[in-house]
């Protein structure tokens, strides 16, 4: 049977690994040696579970979207990660990593952010724990996502601009890695997605796996069967998808569907559909599918949703793509906007634009009346209001 979890060498099939400069080796090696022991420790689980319950508001509801189900003539459930504290799934990971960081004796936290959601979730966790927080953000994103910059600052984080390269998420990630190189002893780097050197992809997937863990008993309660027929999630780096797929990876009857951002269209040159446009390469510490020139320079992706605006995907998703375990569907900006309007008007739930890509994927599936579809509703759309207004759909 194909293995979908990470192997001992830190690989998912041929993807993953730890392609890091020697300066980062002690940090990453320390994590690799200790992360499983720490996160499997009963007192760690107890501390994290308590916070997820009392601070984040878990378990998040699994909601039967009746009007949407009627529209598609099937049964569609929404896993309401948008109802988490800070409005998205990102907090599941930042709380897990900050407790881990404390147990490693770290006193200073760094993070990268694109749209600002992971930055806000990190600033939140740091405020809660009284830890110093520095968030790297592309200079262009700082201008585009001003409200999130102020949210981070309000919670005491320092936001440092990445001023080199394309001045967006990948450059913010570069800057965070450079910071970690320069501060090898006291600092932990909270990566926001299932990317980076091993063990980050596995660690982040484990912290997000609470999503599918809850789905199992919630589905059992509601349908009598813990297995749905389909799980749909959007993929930028892929942390919410990794969490939603996690406990179903080895159940081949459950179809896994990943919605990527086609931007203005796959062949327009303004896209972030990595599995359609990418080639195997190495960036930010792992071997994975990357959007790049023939010469191996990483290209700047485009999507209307800043959270999907990353030139690669996590190695776990590259493996799910290569083995055809997951179906990858590319959704355009317009399709995502239309899906956001549809969900808003049919269910009274305004999804994040990232999440709207997952909703739009419904149109590509041949769904039966008896099917049970779960959409991971990874985030809420308040942050995207200006984009909705600018697009003219309101």
């Amino acid at each position: 049977m194909t293995q979908y979890s990470v192997d001992e060498r830190g690989y998912y099939g041929s993807f993953g690994g730890a392609y890091i400069p020697e300066m980062l080796y002690p940090n990453v090696e320390e994590l690799r040696q200790k992360y499983l022991e720490i996160i499997n420790d009963p007192s760690f689980k107890e501390e994290l579970d308590q916070l997820l319950k009392d601070y984040v508001g878990r378990p998040t509801p699994l909601f039967l979207a009746q009007r949407l189900s009627a529209h598609y003539k099937t049964n569609i459930y929404l896993k309401r990660e948008d109802l988490n504290h800070t409005g998205a799934h990102k907090i599941n990971n930042t709380l897990g990593q900050i407790i881990l960081a404390k147990r490693l004796g770290k006193t200073r936290i760094i993070a990268e952010t694109g749209a600002g959601q992971h930055g806000v979730a990190t600033a939140t966790a740091c405020a809660l724990m009284g830890m110093q927080c520095i968030v790297y953000m592309g200079e262009i994103d700082i201008k585009r996502q001003a409200p999130n910059v102020y949210r981070m600052k309000l919670m005491g984080a320092e936001v440092r601009p990445a001023t080199c390269g394309s001045k967006t998420l990948k450059d913010a990630t570069n800057e965070a890695m450079r910071d970690w190189i320069s501060n090898p002893v006291d600092t932990h780097y909270i990566i926001g997605s299932v990317v980076g050197p091993h063990p980050f992809p596995d660690m982040v997937a484990r912290f997000q796996s609470v999503i599918s863990e809850e789905m199992k008993w919630q589905l059992k309660e509601k349908t009598g069967n813990e297995d749905p027929t389909h799980i749909i999630a959007c993929v930028g780096g892929g942390s919410n998808a990794a969490g939603a797929f996690y406990h179903y990876l080895n159940k081949p009857k459950v179809k896994l569907v990943a919605a990527e951002a086609a931007g203005q269209g796959i062949s327009t040159g303004h896209s972030a559909a990595t599995t359609f446009l990418g080639k195997t390469g190495v960036l930010h510490g792992s071997k994975t599918l990357l959007m790049q020139t023939d010469d191996g320079q990483i290209t700047e992706p485009y999507s209307i949703s800043a959270g999907l605006d990353y030139p690669g995907i996590g190695p776990i998703h590259a493996h799910l793509f290569e083995t055809s375990r997951a179906q990858f569907i590319a959704i355009t900006d317009q399709q995502a906007l239309d899906a956001a309007v549809m969900l808003s008007r049919m269910e009274g739930i305004i999804p994040a634009l990232e999440t709207a890509h997952a909703v739009a994927a419904l149109d590509y599936l041949e769904l039966q009346e008896s099917d049970v579809v779960v959409i991971n509703l990874s985030g809420r759309g308040d942050k995207d209001l200006q984009t909705f207004i600018n697009s003219g759909i309101i």
């Binding site: 730890a18 400069p21 002690p26």
Partner: protein, 257 residues
């Protein structure tokens, strides 16, 4: 034994190496810079192959890489610019860069082209030893290309010895925790790290890099290592240069005199 290994067998101290980014300041300066460095008596030269996301580099080399890429530098063009370099240059040459452009060029083709042109070694900071041994070493060995690995002040003694065991050119001693770029001198703490490494009696020569910017840093590094590498400070000089040949000669004279 290639030129680099021959150099280390003949010269044991005060080695000086210079790094520059190919395609910077202008696209076609590559051969001019290499020849000027040879003329000014540099012991070996690192040709930087620019990458869009250089995570081990500080602001100076980030900027030179960005400009080089904007100028149009790429792997095939670099090889084309230096294809006849061995007619005029006998100084050992290395390519320093990141692994992704090499994966896209093709590892075998890359090593083969290096061999044909007369490149003696490569330095790829994001290709760690473990991955190298498993998937890359046999190809580098086949074409006689040395792969140079980094050690840092936070590397354990055991790991340093393992890296030494598997290296065949020199050990690149990163001077302090940080990315490339000029720092103010060499601290006492760094000197004691250099001394610690010297006492390990490694089989490979050690060359200190990252943060060495001037005569004082070079001389301090040479007290406990076989030599030193200057990169960012050299690039800063190039950025303001109006006459590459004479400015490079003056810069090297300023270090070695």
């Amino acid at each position: 034994m290639n030129r680099l290994q021959k150099l280390f067998s003949e010269k044991k101290s005060n080695l000086l190496s210079i790094y520059f980014t190919a395609g910077y300041p202008s696209l076609n300066d590559t051969a001019t810079i290499i020849e000027a460095l040879q003329d000014s008596g540099v012991d070996f030269i690192e040709i930087g192959l620019p990458f869009s996301d250089p995570i081990a580099d500080g602001p100076t080399i980030q900027q030179s890489s960005e400009i080089a890429l904007e100028n149009g530098m790429h792997t095939t063009l670099l090889f084309d610019q230096i294809k006849d370099i061995r007619k005029t240059v006998s100084t050992p040459l290395l390519i320093m860069g990141y692994i992704n452009p090499i994966i896209q060029f093709g590892l075998e083709k890359f090593c083969q082209t290096c061999h044909q042109i007369g490149i003696d070694g490569v330095i790829l900071p994001d290709l760690p030893m473990q991955e190298y041994l498993e998937s890359y070493k046999s190809t580098f060995d086949k074409y006689g290309i040395c792969n140079i690995f980094l050690i840092t002040p936070v590397s354990s003694t055991e790991r340093i010895q393992w890296i030494d065991e598997n290296s065949n050119g020199f050990i690149y001693m990163v001077s302090s925790a940080g990315t490339t770029g000029a720092r103010a001198g060499v601290s006492d703490e760094q000197s004691s790290y250099f001394e610690k490494i010297q006492k390990l009696n490694l089989k490979n020569p050690t060359i200190v890099g990252f943060g060495i910017s001037d005569k004082n840093g070079y001389e301090k590094a040479c007290l406990n290592a076989n030599g030193a590498i200057i990169g960012s400070a050299f690039i800063k000089m190039l950025s303001g240069s109006t006459n590459l040949k004479s400015d490079i000669a003056d810069f090297i004279k300023g270090i070695k005199s």
